[in-house]
């Protein structure tokens, strides 16, 4: 008797399936999208230069904790929250302000309920698709073993909310250059960035739970009635969480690229400042 017969005709093994559709396209696109972003973000973080132009600050480098004014395309020293680049910084690493802050949005996205689905399927193959054989491994523990850390997603959310405030401040500053109000393409790019990030962040499943989902009774008092309204609003955003996740991911990388190209002088920023 073959395994095939024993299992009711089901084939067994990694990626084994009787499905005839192109189930692998989704995981492949996820690998390309997340992989492409990871490569670009890592490269951009290691540059330590060309992250600032006029009033534009790349979101990969915000907030600017320390500044190395000697780097080309760097921000003026007065933009740094904590001052000049620290002397204790290991010389083998480039002096890049991005290193101080990128962990926060990274952890938020890595523990996000949507991205978990995306990378469990695409990178870990548990499973690669629905009714498709998973990567063979030891005894499956899901999110009860090492991955129990995923339960701290709400703390990454708190940090992400702070970042939206900071990036919103950067977006407002992008409309002022040398004290003169104005608008440029970069201003609009940097304005859209926190808006998209807010749509992603405030549609988060943890946020949905915290604002009202944890209640069993939405009509018991005035506060719970108000939270019900909030919960419904977050639910509407949450229904498109995947789309917001991808659009905001793309736009944050594009924002960095735009500021970088303008700062390098490779493209000209159309603006009212001339």
């Amino acid at each position: 008797m073959s395994d095939l017969a024993r299992a009711g005709g089901h084939v067994i093994g990694f990626a084994a399936t009787a499905r005839r559709d192109r189930w692998w396209i989704g995981p492949l696109l996820t690998v390309l999208g997340l992989g492409g972003f990871a490569v670009y973000a890592t490269w951009a973080a290691f540059q330590g230069s060309y992250y600032f132009h006029g009033a534009y600050l790349s979101p990969f480098y915000s907030p600017l904790l320390f500044v190395n004014p000697a780097a080309p395309g760097s921000a003026p020293l007065e933009h740094a929250w904590l001052g000049r680049w620290p002397s204790w910084w290991p010389s083998i690493l480039p002096a890049s302000p991005a290193f101080f802050i990128m962990a926060f949005p990274l952890v938020f996205r890595a523990t996000c309920y949507y991205y978990r689905k995306a990378y469990y399927r695409s990178f870990f193959g548990t499973p690669p698709g629905c009714a498709v054989g998973p990567v063979p491994g030891g005894r499956y523990r899901g999110e009860t073993g090492l991955l129990i850390v995923q339960n701290l997603h709400r703390y990454a959310l708190y940090a992400a909310i702070v970042f939206i405030g900071i990036l919103s401040y950067d977006a407002v500053r992008a409309f002022f250059r040398d004290g003169r109000p104005g608008v440029g393409v970069g201003s609009m790019v940097l304005l859209l960035n926190p808006m998209l990030l807010a749509a992603y962040t405030f549609g988060c499943h943890s946020w949905r739970h915290l604002v009202g989902g944890r209640l069993d009774c939405f009509s018991c008092d005035r506060q719970s009635a108000m939270r019900h309204g909030l919960w419904r609003g977050v639910t509407a955003l949450n229904a498109h969480h995947m789309q917001w996740a991808w659009v905001s991911l793309f736009w944050v990388a594009f924002s960095d690229l735009y500021v970088r190209l303008v700062s390098m002088g490779l493209i000209r920023d159309l603006s009212t400042w001339g």
Binding site: M1, R20, E143, I148, N151, D216
Partner: protein, 246 residues
């Protein structure tokens, strides 16, 4: 009328093989209609579980071209004219015969769940709920117990962890009780430990196959996981409970 090719798994738990069939199919037929025609004309002993033919009883769950589906809700025009349609029993449960599986494991899980325990009645001797309080749990009541979500869940289907995880159908049942405005029982410790919420890695296949379009993952499992976080993994809430006693 056109002739279509079918491969249907025939056998018992001891073994079996695919039977090949060519059969005339009429316009508007669903897969269950074709299986009945094959049963009537070519394979009188073909075992199929079915009942309502309307997508409401959840009996005719099977795997059609590798996807868990209700045979009565799978229209033939979904498939290309020359496509051979492969029909198999559910993978996650033991085969009884042909396309019929033994899903009794699910009934055993249902018995383990602490039942609805309402609080005291109101002063008028009635239970009262506002519509907005029951909207959320009414979605879960749409479940027809077809067990397609249980079949596609890789924890049950491929990882053989029925010992640790109760499966999406019963996470939904737990959610419907936990979120009920009148219920007073506390099932959260059991959701984490006995029912294994941590074993779900939210790959959402259960939601994709649900014929009632219940948002199993977003509205059921993830909210339960967040309630487990409240109780067991959030250090600030833990500290708050220690200090304020609630």
């Amino acid at each position: 009328m056109s002739e279509r090719a079918f491969r249907i798994w025939r056998g018992t738990a001891a073994g079996g093989e695919f039977g090949e069939h060519r059969i005339d199919v009429d316009e508007g037929m669903v897969v269950l209609d074709v299986l009945h025609r094959i049963q009537a004309k070519q394979a009188n002993d073909l075992a199929i579980r079915w009942n309502c033919k309307a997508g409401k009883c959840g009996s005719c769950s099977m795997e059609i071209n590798g996807r868990p589906r209700l045979a009565c809700m799978t229209r033939m025009n979904l498939f290309a004219d020359r496509e051979t349609i492969t029909v198999q029993p559910l993978k996650a449960f033991p085969v009884i015969r042909d396309l019929v599986t033994d899903v009794s494991w699910n009934f055993e899980q249902n018995k383990r769940i602490p039942p609805f325990r309402p609080g005291p009645k109101g002063s008028d001797g009635q239970y009262r709920m506002h519509q907005k309080d029951v909207d959320r749990v009414q979605e879960f009541r749409k479940c027809i117990e077809c067990y397609l979500c249980q079949d596609v869940c890789h924890v049950l289907r491929d990882q053989s962890r029925k010992d640790a995880f109760v499966g999406p159908r019963f996470m939904i049942r737990l959610a419907s009780l936990e979120m009920h405005p009148l219920d007073t029982a506390d099932r959260i410790p059991a959701v984490r430990k006995e029912f294994g919420s941590g074993f779900c890695n939210i790959t959402r296949c259960c939601t994709e196959v649900c014929p009632e379009h219940i948002e199993i993952t977003d509205n059921g499992i993830i909210p339960l996981k967040e309630r487990v976080v409240d109780r067991f993994y959030d250090p600030l809430l833990w500290l708050g409970r220690k200090i304020f006693g609630r």
